[in-house]
């Protein structure tokens, strides 16, 4: 039945099809004069349709929140394993009351512990800063080349996930505490909404960036590009935090101790 409906469609690649005639021509012709941003897709996404992007950021934040609420398990582990680093002897402590007296020679272990491979550790340790610089570059150049806030945020998030995969999960949790991740996710959404709300007391509508001109030191045409940049930074921060939250909660089933 659907195949019969495709008989009515316009030909592929037709420049005069109804989807391309009414509104998009306006966007293409006027976007550069009004916003000084060459990448039309980012201009439409962050400026002309900024309302949709705000709610999309809220959806991502809600997904991270839902994942955290579904899976997080705050109980203490019942049995613990310790491994003597000099000889390789493994201790299995079943009772949760006893505490080891000589803590420095023993290291924590999980049930499926494998020794960290030297090649993987070294290569990932060298590559992760470059991936992060690339992620920041993609966020900042969203105006001139394909990219934008969301793509750069996912790249930054996956660099942190790479740290968790190459070492173990406890290394990541020691560097990035859980509370800070939650605060970052909320701060990202708040930056977006904050920039949108600030435009209102300055005399414009909600999300009207051109009224921000007295605050920022540039001419009235560039203000819209700067407003777009601020909004993309907010989206990037929120997406980074949420990707790491979802990964950490899925791979450890909520307990934040074992992992891939």
């Amino acid at each position: 039945m659907l195949l019969y409906g495709t008989g009515e469609f316009p030909d592929w690649g037709d420049p005069y099809s109804p989807a391309s005639v009414h509104l998009s021509n306006d966007y293409l012709e006027k976007a550069f004069d009004q916003t000084q941003v060459p990448n039309i897709v980012t201009a439409v996404l962050a400026d002309y349709r900024g309302f949709d992007t705000m709610f999309e950021t809220a959806v991502i934040f809600t997904a991270g929140l839902a994942c955290f609420l579904l899976l997080r398990d705050f109980r203490e582990k019942e049995e613990r394993f310790y491994r003597h680093t000099a000889t390789g002897v493994i201790l299995h402590v079943k009772d949760s009351q006893k505490v080891l007296l000589v803590e420095r020679e023993f290291e924590h272990m999980d049930k499926d512990w494998v020794p960290s491979d030297l090649i993987i550790r070294t290569v990932c340790r060298i590559i992760i800063p470059f991936i992060q610089i690339y992620g920041l570059y993609v966020i900042a150049h969203g105006d001139f080349s394909p990219g934008g806030g969301f793509q750069g945020g996912v790249i930054l998030g996956s660099s942190l996930i790479l740290l968790a995969i190459s070492y173990n999960l406890k290394t990541l949790m020691r560097r990035v505490k859980e509370k800070i991740l939650g605060i970052y996710a909320a701060v990202g959404v708040l930056i977006y909404v904050g920039i949108a709300v600030i435009c209102m007391p300055m005399g414009g509508n909600f999300l009207d960036y051109s009224k921000l001109a007295p605050l920022l030191p540039s001419d009235p045409h560039h203000v819209r590009a700067l407003g777009m940049l601020g909004v993309e930074i907010g989206v990037g921060i929120a997406v980074t935090a949420v990707m790491v939250i979802i990964y950490v909660n899925i791979v450890s089933a909520g307990r934040h101790d074992e992992g891939l």
Binding site: Q151, I165, I246, L260
Partner: protein, 81 residues
């Protein structure tokens, strides 16, 4: 020279999709899903949608496959059908 690329990549995509839902091992499903996502990214890049292709490359072949493998690690790996 242009429409053969489209046709070949589209047939690859359909084969990847059919294979991804037919195999019984879930890890193979994860890898085939990553390949399907990468073929989609190629299709969009050929059509001129570079922003969409960039997003699908990072999300599909990066984060989505990692979530899939992490979930398989916590649940069973073989399925019955």
């Amino acid at each position: 020279m242009y429409w053969p690329i489209d046709l070949i990549v589209l047939t690859f995509v359909i084969f990847c999709a059919i294979a991804a839902i037919t195999v019984k091992d879930l890890l193979a499903t994860a890898i085939l899903f990553g390949a399907y996502s990468f073929m989609m990214c190629l299709l969009w890049a050929v059509m001129g949608a570079v922003d969409v292709a960039f997003t699908e490359a990072t999300v599909g072949a990066g984060v989505s496959t990692v979530f899939f493998v992490a979930a398989i690690f916590r649940t069973s790996r073989r399925t019955k059908d």
